[in-house]
């Protein structure tokens, strides 16, 4: 009943602060923030394209200037660099088996490279102007399609270096495209004529199967993983279309402030969640924001800011890495620690290659008292379902100032709190001293260095609205009590000058705020009257 009532000490507590109602720590944004971002800079110019290899270990190719660099997705060290370009390279893209890489260029030449030797195996000539779109068809190792600034989309047979189909329909630069995940013969391209066209290589009519009007020059287009939805980016909006349902607009997301430059599909690792709910649409924009959009719930779930205009992004198929390219030659790479619980996909992939996935771990030996581990056994035991848990009483954590307050060493407690760097705890200690009626005595007992500490604290925090009511009254008292000491020391005088100026500044702020209030309140009252 009253057990434990004795011998209880309470640490001083600062006043509670209101917690924001919709705190950003939803599990979703926690996941997106768990990517540890680091910056790779030193690339010469804007990174226009990033593509991850579809095969493990999921290297990625970043295209910038006249070169393509292959990075390791675990260490983010450059693995290889392809610089056999005569001009600016664009849109380096992997083949589905990750062995070949195709890239376009300013000259209109499309080249296919072997990743091991890094020499061009094939060169596809046909575009008259620069090629900004090169894509392999999904699961088709023989064909690729390209789009150029000559408004043409070409379908190539790579082995013979021949152009199979020349799709005509776009009226402006073709800058983006994506192969359909549902069919190897279908792909979508987006153009600066505001349209996205869906092509079928099996239809020889040379006209598009489907045409979508985005309303702005299309910067990027992707198929969502089901193959039924298409997301397009242009201007500051991202639109989602139903491709199967005849190109109906499903949703328009307009949360970016500047042109959306790139889209990609990311995956959220959820335990026991449905597969379809795991995919998210990621978009980056020139305003420096990366936004994560849940297209099943049609909800923006996370948003993140980077200090540069963003041009391109890629997301590793195993969810472990996220790479964003900027216009000033920096790469923001984010790596996520692989959690062991969700590593099942990788293991199944390993099984295919190595074939001993079913092998069990060696059985643990029976512990004997001669082993050291015998004495540690059971310490990490987790309680099972039916166990009755006896909780150890929570230990009260006492900070140094709490311990000093417990011993009634009030001045030391105040100084120890001032030496720390948490204004809340300083104010909490001061309030506790007020409750003990010892604060002013402490202030009058402070020696010179400690007084300087106190004045520095007051100067920094006494104009903060949360503490000002308490600290300004204390300031007055301190000045009254220690006027003589302050007059004799130049350092202290300097603090007082700073304090004065900060108070004056705060007064100015308050005055201008009052002016604004004076302007607004008649307006509000007029608005309220209607």
């Amino acid at each position: 009943m009253a057990d434990g009532q004795l011998r209880k000490t309470f640490p001083v507590k600062s006043r509670l602060r209101p917690t924001p109602k919709n705190s950003s720590s939803s599990p979703e944004s926690k996941y997106w923030r768990s990517f540890k971002t680091q910056q790779i800079s030193g690339l010469i110019s804007a990174i226009t394209s990033i593509d991850f290899s579809p095969e493990p270990p999921h290297d990625f190719a970043a295209t910038y200037s006249a070169s393509v660099t292959i990075y390791d997705s675990q260490t983010f060290e450059p693995k290889a660099k392809i610089s056999d370009f005569t001009d600016v390279a664009y849109s380096a893209t992997y083949r589905s088996d990750g062995k070949l890489l195709a890239a376009g260029g300013e000259s209109g030449l499309v080249q296919v490279f072997d990743l091991k030797k890094r020499i061009p195996l094939r060169q596809l000539r046909g575009h008259s102007r620069s090629v900004r779109l090169v894509r392999y068809a999904r699961l088709d190792k023989l064909h690729l399609f390209s789009g150029g600034d000559d408004a043409l989309v070409k379908y190539w047979d790579v082995a013979s270096e021949t152009e199979l189909i020349n799709f005509q329909g776009h009226k402006d630069y073709v800058r983006c495209g994506f192969a359909s995940p549902a069919s190897s013969d279908m792909f979508a391209t987006g153009s600066y004529d505001h349209t996205v066209r869906l092509w079928d290589a099996r239809v020889s009519s040379l006209s598009s199967v489907l045409q979508l009007n985005h309303g702005k020059p299309v910067e990027d287009v992707i198929f969502l993983p089901s193959g039924g939805l298409i997301a397009t980016a242009g201007g500051n909006s991202v639109k989602i279309w139903d491709a199967i349902g005849g190109g109906k607009l499903v949703y328009t997301m307009e949360s970016h402030n500047k042109t959306v430059t790139s889209l990609c599909v990311g995956k959220v690792r959820k335990n026991g969640g449905e597969q379809s709910q795991q995919f998210r649409l990621l978009s980056v924009s020139l305003d420096g924001y990366m936004k994560v959009f849940d297209f099943s719930a049609l909800k923006l779930v996370h948003s993140m800011r980077y200090p540069a205009p963003l041009l391109s992004m890629g997301f590793s198929p195993d969810c472990s890495a996220r790479v964003i390219g900027t216009s000033n030659g920096a790469l923001f790479v984010g790596k996520r620690k692989k959690d062991p619980s969700s590593g099942d996909n990788d293991i199944s992939g390993m099984d295919k290659f190595l074939g001993f996935g079913s092998l069990e771990e060696p059985e643990s030996r029976v512990l004997k008292p001669t082993y050291f581990r015998y004495f540690q056994r059971g310490q990490n035991e987790k309680p099972s379902e039916g166990d009755y848990l006896i909780k150890r009483p929570a230990k009260v954590k006492l900070a140094e100032h709490d311990k000093l307050l417990k011993k009634f060493r009030h001045k030391e407690a105040l100084v120890s709190a001032l030496n720390g760097n948490s204004p809340q705890s300083v104010v909490a200690v001061m309030e506790e001293l007020v409750a003990r009626k010892k604060l002013l005595q402490c202030v009058s007992n402070l020696d010179r260095e400690e007084l300087e500490l106190l004045l520095r604290f007051l100067q920094r925090y006494s104009t903060m609205p949360r503490y000002s009511g308490f600290l300004l009254a204390l300031c007055k008292k301190v000045l009254q009590l220690r006027a003589d000491d302050i007059m004799t020391e130049d350092v202290l005088k300097g603090h007082i000058r700073n304090l004065k100026s900060s108070v004056e500044e705060e007064i100015r702020t308050q005055q201008s705020l009052q002016e604004i209030q004076g302007i607004i309140s008649p307006l509000l009252s007029i608005a309220g009257r209607r």
Binding site: M1, A2, D3, Q5, L6, R7, K8, T9, F10, K13, R15, L16, K21, G386, Y388, M430, E431, L433, V434, A435, R436, K437, K438, L439, L440, F470, A473, L474, K477
Partner: protein, 812 residues
């Protein structure tokens, strides 16, 4: 009628001989508690006035340990002899003078006459001589008298001492000496080895320079300890050698040796030496030697129990008890002792380690606050449905006390602070409100500023947990009305809405929002301000909701105003009184409102809401108002010294200073009046309980609606049915409170770890493991470090005894 809330610490408690029962003086009765469970076992009823002392008849042989006899003395002038195991009154001795203290030295060393018949039993009593009238402090009203218990009469002419007030008599463990304190002196008497009517008890006096508060005798040696008001403890060694040891004929012939060195002894006092220990900062209240005389326990206003090693003066402490200590009592069981605290709580200590094993807590006494915060709220709120009283305590808690069961339910810590008795109070809980269904609580606390810095008013909302009286903090609002103090808090009867009013001139309506987010998120609920209202910038002194919740009545100092709580619109201004209103209350579902104003011109007014005018009023100093929720009846607690009209006819009962008046709103003539004592600071409430719980015949259908509870200024309470006029017989009924005395000694596993949680595993009936009940586990005897253990000779006998008894139990 149920009475309760008596103080457990009015006088020194006593243990039974086996240490399993504890006898406490609780008002007119003696309550017997079990030390193992901390619950009340039984009650000894028979005295007509408060019981002042309990003296358990000691048993020398362990075989007869089960015998439970005790003597009690009371202010009604009687001494009773009880068998408290049954419980049964065996004998009553009438002294006819109020007895304040009693010792019976004859019981401590039983004397057998040569013919084998026990001699007469004499008691020494401290009585108040009521024959000496007069208020002058000079009159010596306290007397120490001798009383023959066998022949039940007070011995005439034998007055050992006369003091200004009746004093508490302290007796040594052997029964050889007893003494009292008298201002700056200690009087000690030595009993003759054969006590009879005519033997002279010899007296000696020890002097000190400060006023003494307590004395204690060493159990074996001639050592006497005394505590004084400044916190000093004086140890006189070898007292009374000269006076007591000398034969009568030698007294005159003996020469006092002046050359003898007697350090510390004042004047001609008869002691070898006197040493002073000073640790306590304030007066020493509790002082006791350990049973073997190695340690001295002392406690005082600081709430710290100090253990002094008698030879060296080294100290150990049991700190943070949180309340001034009153008594320290050790039991015959060497591993158990208790401390009584001023907050009506008794802590049982496990001895060598001084660990708190159990607490028996009664209703908390009223706590003292600075005057400015004391006027409007008396510190008690009622949970009408559960019959609980919520009482603020000095250590920043709210105690929930079941009025029907007369026991504590729980305590809620409001401020995370430790109470330090003796310090200036700078933080205190000013207000406390419970919602009608008892599921919500609001508290207001104030921190006093230090020279204008750092004052804080804080409003806290609490939500009840799974059990009654368990509350968790929901919302904290700092400075709800900027820095103005809160004058009243009231809850909406049906919705989750509350109002708080302040002297700063505004009231705020708070609502609780429950946003149930997706189920994996924690349900977030908090109180936020719904609206703010003011009336002509006047201080708002009281606020309440009507029973259906549609109207909020707010008293702006002297004006009664009505508001719509949802839209925050002033509906009507009812009227004005002469003095500021302190309490507003709607009377049931009727259209009437009761207001109470205090001050120079106190007023009790009933306002009609339909006519928006005063209906009738009295010039009464009303202390508390309680309104029935369903009927148009209300009760008022009135201080009668301020109401001339009533005193002339009603105050016939001596000592009563208050009246409870029961009114029907339409009729200014009270239906019933009762006169009560200690009304200042009292509280009234109608509790909604089925009357069948009270064990009374429900005569009227109507009367089963509500019963009235009255709590007086000492937090003693009485619950009665206001309709039943003839209800004067006291039928105390503690629902299921009295635990039958069935003390299967907790043994083996349970004695160490407590009772096992009962698991309910379906289809798995494990055979119950039976423990062999043993009297006392020897693990605890030898626990503790060697220097705190009792001497081995003592332990050995206990140890062997426990072994013996265990074996006999096995044979059973």
């Amino acid at each position: 009628m149920i009475t309760g809330g008596k103080s457990y610490v009015s006088s020194v408690p006593a243990f039974s001989n086996d240490g399993k029962k504890l006898l406490l003086c609780t008002g007119n009765t003696v309550s017997v508690f079990s030390t193992s469970t901390g619950m009340q076992i039984t009650e000894l009823e028979g005295h007509q006035a408060p019981v002042t002392s309990v003296f358990v008849v000691p048993i020398s042989t362990s075989a007869s340990k089960v015998l439970c006899y005790c003597w009690t003395s009371s202010l009604d002038g009687s001494i009773c002899y009880w068998d408290f195991s049954v419980p049964e009154l065996m004998k009553k001795v009438d002294v006819q003078l109020p007895i304040y203290s009693m010792v019976i030295p004859g019981l401590l060393h039983p004397q057998i006459h040569s013919n084998g018949k026990p001699s007469d039993l004499y008691a020494y009593v401290s009585v108040e001589d009521t024959s000496k009238q007069g208020d002058k402090s000079k009159v010596l009203r306290g007397q120490i008298r001798k009383c023959n218990l066998s022949e039940s009469r007070l011995l005439g002419g034998v007055t050992l001492s006369e003091t200004q007030h009746p004093e508490i008599i302290t007796i040594s463990a052997s029964g050889e000496f007893f003494g009292i304190r008298n201002k700056q002196r200690l009087h000690v008497w030595k009993l003759p080895s054969k006590d009879s009517e005519h033997d002279v008890v010899r007296k000696m006096t020890l002097h000190h320079t400060k006023k003494l508060t307590i004395l204690a005798f060493h159990p074996t040696e001639r050592i006497l300890a005394g505590g004084d008001v400044t916190g000093r403890i004086l140890i006189w060694r070898g007292f009374g050698k000269r006076i007591f040891s000398a034969n009568e004929k030698q007294i005159n012939g003996r020469v006092v040796k002046h050359g003898e060195e007697r350090p510390g002894v004042i004047g001609d006092d008869d002691a070898d030496s006197c040493s002073t220990w000073h640790w306590h900062a304030a007066e020493v209240n509790a002082l006791s030697f350990s049973s073997d005389g190695v340690y001295l326990y002392s406690g005082g206003r600081e709430g710290v129990l100090v253990v002094w090693q008698l030879d060296t003066g080294k100290k150990r402490y049991l700190s943070r008890i949180g309340s001034p200590l009153l008594y320290f009592t050790y039991s015959p069981d060497p591993s158990l002792s208790l401390i009584s605290c001023a907050d009506n709580q008794i802590h049982l200590l496990e001895m060598p380690s001084m660990e708190l094993s159990k607490s028996i807590s009664g209703i908390k006494p009223p706590c003292s606050f600075p005057k400015i915060y004391q006027d409007s709220f008396n510190g008690i709120a009622f949970d009408h449905t559960a019959g609980l009283a919520a009482i603020r305590t000095e250590n920043y808690r709210i105690q929930f006390y079941s009025l029907f069961d007369n026991r504590e339910i729980s305590q809620v810590q409001v401020c995370e602070r430790n109470h330090q008795p003796g310090d200036d109070v700078t933080v205190f809980v000013t207000l406390l409100a419970l919602s009608i269904d008892g599921s919500l609580m609001a508290t207001a606390e104030v921190k006093l500023p230090e020279e204008g810095i750092g004052g804080l008013v804080c409003l806290k909302f609490w939500a009840s947990g799974s059990q009654g009286g368990e509350f968790t903090l929901s919302t904290v609002i700092y400075e709800p009305h900027s820095d103005a103090a809160i004058s009243a808090i009231a809850f909406h009867p049906t919705q989750r809405m509350a109002v708080s009013s302040s002297y700063g001139g505004d009231f705020k309506i708070w609502i609780r929002n429950n946003d149930q987010q997706s189920n994996q998120m924690l349900q977030k609920s908090g109180w936020r301000c719904h609206s703010v209202g003011t009336y002509k910038k006047k201080p708002i002194t009281a606020a309440t909701f009507s029973p259906d919740g549609s109207i909020l009545a707010v008293a702006a100092e002297t004006v009664v105003t009505l508001w719509d709580p949802d839209k925050n619109v002033l509906v009507a201004v009812v009227g004005e009184t002469l003095m500021p209103i302190v309490t507003l209350s709607f009377v049931g579902r009727s259209e009437y409102l009761v207001s109470v104003s205090q001050g120079l011109k106190p007023q009790l007014s009933v306002w009609s809401m339909s006519k928006l005018s005063i209906s009738w009023s009295y010039k009464l100093h009303a202390e508390a108002v309680a309104c029935m929720i369903d009927a148009s009846i209300f009760a008022v607690l009135v201080l009668s010294n301020s109401s001339e009209k009533v005193t002339c006819e009603e105050s016939s009962v001596p000592g009563s200073n208050g009246l409870i008046l029961l009114f029907n709103v339409e009729d200014p003539v009270p239906l019933v009046t009762w006169s009560v004592k200690k009304a200042q600071g009292g509280a009234l409430a109608f509790l909604k309980v089925e009357l069948s719980l009270l064990n009374e015949e429900v005569t009227d259908e109507k009367s089963s609606q509500a019963i009235l509870a009255y709590v007086n200024s000492d937090h003693e309470y009485v619950i009665f049915d206001p309709y039943n006029r003839k209800d004067h017989k006291i039928t105390t009924n503690h629902r299921g409170n009295l635990i039958p005395l069935e003390e299967a000694g907790r043994s083996g596993y349970t004695s160490i770890y407590g009772e096992l949680q009962e698991f309910d595993i379906n289809g798995d009936s494990t055979p119950q493991i039976t423990f062999v009940p043993s009297e006392r586990p020897w693990e605890t005897i030898f626990s503790g470090s060697s220097h705190v253990l009792p001497p081995l000779t003592k332990l050995c006998s206990v140890f062997l005894e426990s072994l013996l008894e265990k074996r006999s139990a096995v044979q059973d």
